[in-house]
């Protein structure tokens, strides 16, 4: 694979408009002469967000009471939506093998427990994950577990485009099914939305495999650094226009990570994109979701905002590590009728 189809980074001159990479969605939505200016006008034309109202709505959704059969279904669905994650400097092949084992058999005491959607690791750990998964590696099939790799100089994104693209290509080549890239928040905050856009387009292209298929691209906005909800809406929209398959809240390395209001807002964006184009984009809150109770609030928010159709791993994921064990405890409680304890789920 070559970089011939990938656009070069934008060059700004005083008089010529910055022409952006001709991403299909953006051209269809904004129009033919895709420039930084036209993109910017488009993003600034999005309706504003009133933070208090948004947070009140999220809090309201959080009061839904999910019981009995709905709760049982929700717990299994949460497990199937988890990107089981380890993103530590101290990650080792052993740690990744342990993670994969947990992903495949979350609860050895109950074989009906579903598998998680994916394991999420740093790019250099992809070979270890692929090896550990073996035949269970879905590699595009529905019945297995995917390998997701964070890329593009995760978590800060502070590296040259060339490094980011190399990072991405290497992970895809090693067998990553999904790439979780970070946007350049500095560029976004300084108004260089064209740069952010072009980089996403380029990374998307770097996700292309030799056979012409693409690894799924999740675009991490790092909402904690974008700070305002207006920025989150614009960045979400930008990421979709540039070709992202998923928009993801956070790296997990910045506080606040995923919050219910910010996830609600991103779900509103994908709902609006669907209303506009008929195309469904995924959403992934990541970081900070540790309890079943919280995760169920997210499911409620998905169902009541984007719609029931989004309640599938191909359109909604949780980036989490400790969440899984809490879901398993709750699941055991539902199955046995008794409260379980941390000694009855595995430490991985």
């Amino acid at each position: 694979m070559t970089s011939a189809t990938a656009p070069t980074a934008s060059v700004t001159t005083a008089d010529a408009p910055t022409v952006l990479a001709p991403a299909e969605r953006a051209i269809q939505t904004i129009g033919g002469d895709l420039t930084e200016k036209s993109l910017r006008l488009h993003l600034e034309g999005l309706p504003g967000v009133d933070a208090v109202g948004l947070e009140a709505r999220a809090a309201g959704l959080g009061t839904r009471s999910i019981k009995t059969s709905s709760k049982a279904w929700a717990l299994d669905t949460i497990i199937r939506m988890i990107d089981l994650t380890t993103l530590e400097g101290a990650d080792t092949p052993g740690k990744v093998r342990s993670l994969v084992a947990k992903a495949l058999t979350p609860d050895a005491t109950d074989p009906t427990t579903p598998r998680v959607a994916a394991v999420c690791v740093y790019g250099d750990m992809v070979p270890d994950a692929v090896r550990a998964l073996g035949a269970a590696h879905s590699a595009g099939r529905d019945d297995g577990v995917n390998v997701a790799a964070v890329a593009t100089a995760f978590p800060s994104g502070r590296a040259s485009l060339a490094v980011k693209l190399a990072d991405t290509r290497e992970a895809v080549a090693a067998g990553a099914d999904e790439i979780d890239m970070v946007i350049d928040r500095g560029a976004f905050l300084s108004g260089r939305v064209g740069l952010v856009f072009d980089q996403i387009v380029a990374v998307k292209e770097a996700c292309r495999r030799a056979d012409g298929s693409y690894a799924h691209l999740k675009v991490i906005l790092e909402t904690g650094e974008l700070n305002t909800y207006d920025n989150v809406r614009r960045a979400s929209w930008l990421a979709i226009l540039a070709g992202g398959d998923f928009i993801k809240t956070s790296t997990g390395k910045v506080a606040p990570a995923a919050t219910l209001p910010v996830t609600l807002l991103m779900l509103e964006v994908v709902r609006d994109w669907y209303r506009l184009t008929g195309e469904r984009i995924g959403v992934k809150p990541a970081g900070g979701i540790r309890t079943s109770k919280d995760a169920i609030k997210y499911l409620v928010t998905v169902a009541e905002t984007a719609g029931e159709e989004w309640l599938t791993p191909s359109l909604f994921r949780f980036g989490a590590s400790s969440l899984l064990n809490d879901v398993l405890l709750q699941r055991q409680k539902l199955t046995t009728g008794h409260y379980s304890g941390p000694d009855y789920v595995t430490v991985d």
């Binding site: 309706p47 009133d50 208090v52 009061t63 929700a74």
Partner: protein, 500 residues
């Protein structure tokens, strides 16, 4: 475990009623005791099931006499002689007891009124506690209430409250009245007496001196006997404009101080630069909160014409996620209409809306067989002359009108004899403030709607009534200034020329 057909069909999550210990029958609460009434008792039912809840005593004129006499005695012998600090302590006690018994009160309220438990639990009852807590602190600080030093209590307050927020309206009435040093006879609405009677038990637990609060249940006759009683000094009423008008007539010339919180037909104005998702929520909250049984409901949606279709589409999609049904289910968004009578009125006015040419859309939701229900409904193509744009429906029915300019929005918003509340949705601060200045309404919500707080005065302009409830202003309804100082500008005996 079988997956539900739709996750959104959340499995039932009923609030337990085991917390309620209802009696078969309730008496009147007079002079600190429950007593039999002299009228024919009536039944209170659950509007969601039409099932009997309890028998309730009916106060006739004689009972009202007894209640007013008890209030008068309590005023003269204990309450008016007590220090403000001690009055405050009783109110603090009541606030705490309400918090302690919050869930029980919420369940009773939803059972008797039909409102969703999530509202009675998260809105009504917490505000009840907040109201008592807020006014408790005023009781020994009345010199700072804005009426000058040593303001006086009025005496015995006659209070008549509606069925839409039974316990909250009771708190709005009783808390400031007691803080200011008045004693009270209050009549809850005929269809929703239950929470007030549980509240009477709280007053007993608080050891509030007998007669300071008396609760007389009954219908319109009881209310009329109360407000027209010659020994009451103050009348406070929340309810329909028609009854408010009648009370204003009957108290004319009596010297009774009168405050009225009446009907409304609020405009909720959505500009094209509004934060759209929040505006949709605000519209929904504005008219479908409490089944639209809200005097300040945003029943007229005034939407800028260039975003009309977009707003209506989004609104319909949003309304399709509302869950109508068992008020005691924690996931219910839309509960029961409070009474058959009210349901008939909503149906009749909706039919008129349709007959007058407005386009009717009803949210798709299954209606239970028993009980009183009305699915969330939107009328588009409504004009300012439409009946449903002028009359208060007091139900989950939204009339959608359009405007082109801010000036037109203001003109249409003000084009009503009512003036209780209004909403403004825009991202432009200067426009919000200018529109807020121009709206003739007592409460303006900008980029929010239906927010209530004990510190925030509430009440209307024009035919929505007079006087304010809540805040420092709410105290003034229950106080009189100390006799005025001698005129500060007396006719001077000798004219003094200013030396140039």
């Amino acid at each position: 475990m079988t997956a539900p057909d739709r996750f959104l069909d959340y499995a039932p999550a009923p609030e337990s009623t085991s917390i309620l210990h209802l009696r078969d029958s309730y008496g009147l609460f007079i002079d600190g005791e429950f007593t039999e009434g002299h009228g024919t008792p009536f039944a209170t039912i659950s509007p969601a099931t039409e099932k009997h809840i309890a028998q309730v005593a009916n106060a006739n004129a004689h009972d009202v006499d007894l209640a007013v006499a008890a209030a008068r005695r309590a005023y003269e012998r204990s309450w008016s002689r007590m220090s403000g600090a001690d009055r405050g302590k009783y109110l603090f006690r009541i606030a705490r007891l309400v918090q302690e018994r919050a869930r029980e009160l919420a369940v009773a309220e939803s059972l008797d009124n039909g409102k969703p438990i999530k509202e009675s639990r998260d809105v009504d009852v917490p505000l009840v506690a907040a109201w008592f807590f807020y006014y408790a602190g005023w009781a020994d600080k009345l010199d700072y209430a804005g009426l000058g030093a040593n303001p006086r209590a009025l005496g015995v307050a006659a209070q008549v409250i509606p069925w839409n927020f039974p316990l909250l309206m009771l708190a709005w009435k009783i808390a400031p009245a007691l803080a200011a040093g008045n004693t009270v006879v209050i009549k809850p609405a005929e269809t929703t007496p239950l929470s007030a009677l549980i509240f009477a038990e709280i007053l007993q637990q608080a050891e509030l001196p007998a007669g300071v609060v008396n609760i007389v249940t009954g219908a319109g006759d009881t209310g009329a006997a109360l407000v027209n009683h010659t020994d009451v000094d103050k009348v406070a009423f929340t309810g329909s404009t028609a009854v408010g008008r009648a009370i204003a007539r009957s108290t004319a010339g009596t010297g009774k101080k009168l405050t009225l919180e009446l009907g409304g037909k609020a405009a909720n104005i959505v500009f094209d630069d509004a934060p759209l998702d929040q505006a949709i929520e605000g519209i929904v909250n504005g008219i479908f909160f409490n089944q639209g049984h809200v005097c300040c409901a945003g029943s007229r949606l005034l939407v800028q014409e260039n975003i009309h279709d977009e707003v209506v589409d989004r609104l319909k999609a949003r309304l399709s996620t509302l869950r109508l049904g068992d008020p005691l289910d924690k996931n219910t968004d839309i509960g029961a209409i409070n009474s058959r009578e009210q349901l008939e009125r909503i149906r009749r006015l909706s039919d008129v809306g349709e007959a007058e040419g407005a386009e009717r859309w009803t949210a798709p939701c299954a209606i239970p067989e028993a009980g009183f229900w009305f699915a969330p409904t939107i009328f588009t193509g409504v004009t300012t002359s439409s009946t449903i744009a002028r009359e208060e429906i007091f139900g989950p029915v939204l009339s959608v009108l359009t405007f082109r300019t801010p000036a037109e929005a203001i003109a249409k918003a003000n084009n009503t004899p009512y003036g209780l509340s209004a909403g403004i949705w825009s991202d432009k601060g200067s426009r919000i403030l200018a529109v807020a200045d121009s709206l003739r309404a007592g409460v303006i919500w900008a980029n929010t709607f239906n927010r209530f707080d004990p510190a925030s005065p509430f009440g209307g302009y024009k035919e929505s009534g007079y006087g304010r409830e809540g805040g420092r202003h709410g105290l003034a309804a229950y106080l009189a200034s100390a006799p005025l100082e001698p005129a500060r500008v007396a006719a001077p005996t000798a004219r003094k020329q200013l030396k140039k």
